[in-house]
Amino acid sequence: MGRKLLLEHINEPGIQTFEVYRKKGGYSSVEKALKTMKPDDVTEEVKKSGLRGRGGAGFPAGMKWSFIDKKSEKPRYLVCNADESEPGTFKDRYLMEKIPHILIEGMITSSYALGAKTSYIYIRGEYMYIVRILEKAIEEAYANGFLGKNILGTDYSLDLYVHPGAGAYICGEETALLESLEGKRGNPRLKPPFPAIAGLYACPTVVNNVETIAAVVPIINMGGDEYSKIGVGKSTGTKLISASGHINKPGVYEIELGLPVEEFIFSEEYCGGIWKDRRMKAVVAGGSSVPILPANLILTTAKGEPRLMTYESLADGGFATGTMLGSGGFIVLDETASIVENLYTFARFYHHESCGQCSPCREGTGWMEKILHRLQNGHGKKEDIDILVDVAKKIEGNTICPLGDAAAWPVASAVRHFRKEFEEAALVHAHKELVA
């Protein structure tokens, strides 16, 4: 059994309530931080832990905190990115729904480290029922002196708000999120300046994912050094993985980073193998925005070593043989799945969700979807495959925010690894032409 840090008490009856959560040791990180540590010490522990952002990019969290402009006389903000909208990713929802107080606790401890007096949880509009769960948890935290003025009798005061968005994937991009939080259209900002210098209301701001903030709780409780012993290399700690697709046991799992991918997919503790005893065809390892890998490459690296659930092992030196851990949205496809159809579904999503600010993303995502629609429906030509790859290449790296990359990477990798399927789809058209 792997070690559980975030989901340790998930099955405890009533863990959603402050009372039970507290009985199980909840809010001890707040007590420890506020009463025995200076804010910079908290940041230092997070740095020592090696915690990397759990939203997808994997940037070291402690380093991100240390970028915050401390010379600025403006207020500082911590914003929790709970706009979990990536297809295949649903782990934050699970955490917030089942054990909301771990997020509130993480918010308080992290806000203290950053010197924030006001913090926000920006949550996607579709999670309205979780808004109510969080608001109740916040109310309980206020009632028990963990939020508001002079928390636990110390000089530190904090107000925490939950802010639902109107339902746009792009609002999960941190600067679009800040625009939306300010009441504007959720368009990504051009960087620099980065949020650590000019974020919410042009003030120094840190934006962290739900899981990242929740992970601060065990880090402070056990100490950064201890936390860094879990995992492999630069992939430390535990990670929530939302597993879906053609597996026997879809769900949210907390794994220790470094777990072999094969064990994750086939062991009874986790996914329980491929359903209906079929063969595995492909895996999207980190949410729909990462490159798709065929079965042989997801289990072993290019060097022939077992693939591990770590940022480094999954990346495998590049996209030719690797992918990304991303947000941990693990989608498994069996031998009956059509890559063209799945890619079309992804492309449709990114086309729909592009904000439309910059030309390559606005026009390119739609073009890719239309080509895939034709291929999927027997109207595509063989030449379309190269055009598709070229369009993806022209989008990648040329857009304001990473949504363009997110739309392009699955396309390039799917054609790279499964070109034959695309050619077969195009053959349908060629056949129709011949018959006519």
Binding site: L190, H351, S359
Partner: protein, 335 residues
Amino acid sequence: MAKLTIDGIEVEVPDGTTILNAARQIGGEVVPPAMCYYSSLKETGGKCRVCLVKVAQGSGKDPRPMPKLVASCRTPVADGMVVQNITSPEVLEARKGVVEFLLLNHPLDCPICDQAGECDLQNLAYEHGAAHTRYEEDRRTFDKIDIGDKIKLHMTRCILCYRCTYVANQLTDNRVHGVLGRGDKSEISTYIEKAIDNDFSGNMIDVCPVGALTDKTFRFKSRVWFTKPMDAHRDCPKCSGKVVLWMKGEEVLRVSARKDQYGEVKEYICNECRYDHKNVKDWTVEGPRHIDHHSVISQNHYEKIDLQKLKKEVERQLVFQKGKQLPEPNNALNG
């Protein structure tokens, strides 16, 4: 001050200057094109992506290259920075891609478009585009709408540069228009069919790089190359009163603001000057406007050649083309 090189040419500019504006100080071929950036409007730029350049060296202190191409209109320079514009095949390839994207949903109806001859996208496509399109899908179309009594919006031609929304935000009162929808379904529109009727709304026409916003008092009256642009001014209590009269014989067909070499208006004009003074007697005519000889507007347009200016242009070309075979100055005169 920061010293940097753009395509091998050194330039020194104040700190905080963007790469694009540093390139504009050099002038000529090293200046990246810009469809959405507009120097007199705050916060513009970064959207169209045609001004992408490669930063081969971040600065003297940190010589690492920037990992991706950057929007030159929004990226500040650093001392020791090395920038590649037309000397980078990667940039030219990306720009060709962006032009292709911009033309996906932009109809190539130049023969009937009022902006023909003055269209930035036409120029951009000529310089960086491909001869044929690979796009075979249906294109986005919209009905034409009146946004105010003097402006026609043909959204089908819009490339969503957002310039007109910045004009509305920054130059006029009571903003009533913006962008609706998202992705390629985005459209410029007024707020619940409101009209844009404030004193400076006409400037939206001048900042539009394509033919999406047109002057209803001029639409279809003439082709721009059949007109004679004349600098003129009048004593106006609202604006500088400095305009260009687009004349056919003695008739004033259109009044617009004066644009610089990058197609940008430096002094915006009011609607009264633009629409209500179409009589040449209302104006003090200063003389023919300088039109670049590459422009289609220069057809049938004569003005006295400024030899000093021409000499400087030749000298600049010599600097830029060092190492290459140099054109004879007389050739430039004939161009």
